[in-house]
Symmetry: C2
Subunit: 464 residues, 2 copies
């Protein structure tokens, strides 16, 4: 990577940006159709991320943010932590979108946006309190969402800079989620959940979870960023899965915004909010994916993984669809549970668990943890591993005495390689992403078709 | 610095924190007296910053964040960029304060805070939109202020990490100010200013500055962080001036919140907002000052300077007293204008302009820029410098031909040393800070006594 855009790239990005600016100007004139404005801004965000990732790569290397790609024949150094560029462009896009999101209300109610005819007397000028019709509850959500995402970016940088222990860094996202939880506390404060039909005779229609509900939301915001950070290690997988999850959430949003959906629907605003947050996220992520896809020219860093996961957590929490969100994280949930025996050191865990690169074939193979006398395996754990081996959930090797001497590492990437044999890096990434997409679609189907059997209403098309 | 708290420190901090927690719990029970909660939280923020600065110093050194103090006999390396700790603790404190700030409204209006008797039907649970009495306009300001301060922290880290040119970094704060300006645009949108009496016959009572007003606010948020970043270079001066400015703004806030001020006053909320933002800022800054004061054990980094300046800009803009704010920045404005000839390379500018340490006397002396044949001085500029020398605004040296061969560097610190002779580092810092305080008090006096001559009303005690 020369640090420069090629001519073709430069002209395409420029042309695309100009087109997007045109759209943006039009939406502004025509009283703001925020969805088109959001799309246009996302296009510009793509172009900006794309260019800045290219231009600033050398600066990252110079500042020591670089690493070697271990799954390549020639291990050259490439810039690390480049997700920071995407995160910054994203934050910028979010703020630039603000006036478009609230355009209608500004023109109606203030003298700042376009309508200069409103009579303003001195007291109002001094205090600025006369905008009763402004949809401020959305504005506050927007601000605190921004605050959460800016905070996770800081913490991501800190994580990429300092050598933090795994058991500490696991809780990093909890700090960043505080603005969102704080907002939820003072703004919504709703900690009731709807009870499944079968349980209603016993506990009633609604149960107030109280502070447990905050623990639940906190858990969501700890889980999402970390689960993306754990499903990592091959080119394109961190950004790729984030792009897939974003697309799946957008599909779900679309179900609420289709012309066929009754309007005004109580959840319309939540899903518009989600849309506005995710479109620019897609823009900056696709630009990063282009550079991080096999063979990677940049690494994304924990900064990106945390940032991406927190975008989803914020959207799910403030959009009130955190349970649906979890249905889109099934591969991540599986990977987390599957990893647990190594994360909690029940099974010895090597420093790196990414698939092993076989430089003879150029393919990735499952990496293994070997058990020696210094790092022994408890006999009972060995027996469990052998059962898992029979269930094709692992591949173990035993010595003549029948004792387990090694096992493939406990990650979904290694398991996939056990199932499907050695693969080239991009092929593996592609298959995992396809699986993520299909599982997510199935999750959405369950959510919207089967939920009616458990709850009395689906909040999309309620039958009261 | 051993990286540990002494026994005395540990026990004092612990005792103080426990006391503050007690106050905090009391204010929560008694329906929240936010000012006391803010004070208690600021105490806890002080203890947290103090401890974490001590504990994490070694980690900063290990991650390469370290520098040598050039104004000491023994130039040992100490951690750099430690203002990051203060900024993070501050952000945490700001969010923790959120429920206290809005406690009254939560209990009145939601089922989340304390009053579980409110009947909530299913639609409300699904949408969470029933809090009409909630003061959401304050909540949005709070969220965007948080967003701006988190963003400036990211940009500060980037500035401390990457080698950014001065003319680029000057505009860094503009990015961070966007959340605040965006909020201002959609939320207040007031771009009228009150016209001084003398001009009213010509332009009317109010002038709508339109987009110029946003340029003005943008200039404020670029100026405040940079001006603190420029008045730097000796132990304690960056944090010290920030503490003084914060205290001066608090004094100004106090004028609006005194029992003698008519209540409800239109500016009461703005100044409470300012108070809630500044008290924890004082807490984290004093903890940093203790470690950064002569002889410094840590450096604060551009991260702190940007962060501190942006706190003031946000408070001034959202509190609608940005003109008053500038009166408290007079030494910084002077320093900026005074520095301009070197910043814009009219006069050759050495890489470092901090005062020169005389290791024989242990005192600081004005540092000089010398002019050689490679770095010549234009004759006409030389003549101007000689005039400034006569006015005691510089000290120049001339050769036999009367040509200027060197001048003291153009910073207020060097000028002070020209005026008052060589000083020990802490003595110089102390005198500059005392000057800042006195000039600021005079500024406030002008603001509240003399403003009535120019405008028809002081917004504190209006005579309509």
């Amino acid at each position: 990577m020369a640090g420069q855009l090629s001519n073709t790239e430069a002209w395409s990005l420029l042309a695309g940006s100009v087109a997007c600016l045109g759209v943006l100007q039009n939406t502004w004139k025509s009283n703001g159709e925020p969805i088109f404005a959001s799309l246009a801004l996302s296009g510009i965000a793509f172009a900006m991320s794309y260019s800045f990732i290219r231009w600033t790569g050398d600066a990252f290397m110079k500042a020591g943010r670089k690493g070697k790609d271990m799954s390549k024949k020639q291990q050259i150094e490439i810039p690390e932590m480049m997700g920071l560029v995407s995160a910054l462009v994203y934050l910028l896009a979010l703020i630039t979108f603000l006036p478009f999101a609230f355009k209608i209300h500004i023109v109606e109610a203030t003298s700042g946006g376009g309508n200069k005819d409103v009579v303003v007397d001195v007291t109002q000028v001094e205090t600025g309190r006369f905008l009763h019709r402004f949809p401020l509850e959305k504005l506050a959500s927007y601000g605190f969402a921004y605050g959460t995402l800016a905070t996770i970016t800081i913490l991501g940088i800190i994580d990429d800079t300092f050598d933090i222990r795994w058991r500490h860094k696991f809780f990093i996202p909890a700090f960043a989620s505080l603005p969102t939880l704080g907002l939820y506390f003072v703004d919504f404060g709703v900690t009731h959940v709807v009870v499944p039909m079968a349980l209603r005779p016993y506990v009633g229609d609604l149960v107030d979870l109280g502070s447990l509900y905050y623990l639940y939301m906190s858990a969501i915001s700890i889980f999402c960023p970390n689960s993306i950070n754990i499903l990592a290690g091959i080119n394109g997988i961190e950004v790729g899965q984030s792009v897939i999850i974003a697309i799946l959430i957008l599909i779900n949003d679309g179900l609420y915004l289709l012309p066929s959906t009754p309007y005004p629907h109580p959840a319309t605003d939540s899903h518009l909010f989600s849309l506005y947050l995710l479109l620019p996220f897609l823009g900056v992520s696709l630009a990063l994916l282009k550079h991080n896809w096999y063979p990677a020219k940049v690494f994304v860093g924990d900064t990106y993984c945390y940032f991406a996961g927190m975008v989803f957590a914020v959207v799910g929490i403030l959009g009130h669809f955190s349970k649906t969100l979890l249905l889109l994280f099934i591969p991540q949930i599986f990977n987390f549970i599957y990893s647990a025996p190594q994360l909690f050191h029940i099974v010895p865990c090597p420093r790196h668990r990414l698939p092993r690169f076989n430089s003879r074939t150029g393919l990735l193979e499952p990496s293994v943890a070997t058990f020696t006398d210094e790092k022994p395996l408890k006999p009972v754990v060995g027996e469990v591993l052998k059962v898992l081996h029979k269930l094709r959930l692992l591949r173990v090797e035993t010595n003549e005495q029948g004792a387990v001497v090694s096992t493939t590492n406990f990650t979904i990437l290694n398991l996939w390689l056990v199932w499907r044999g050695p693969k080239r890096e991009d092929r593996l990434a592609m298959e995992i992403l396809a699986m993520q997409f299909l599982v997510g679609l199935a999750g959405l189907w369950v959510r919207h078709r089967l939920a009616l059997l458990v709850f009395s209403q689906d909040n999309r098309s309620s039958i009261v």
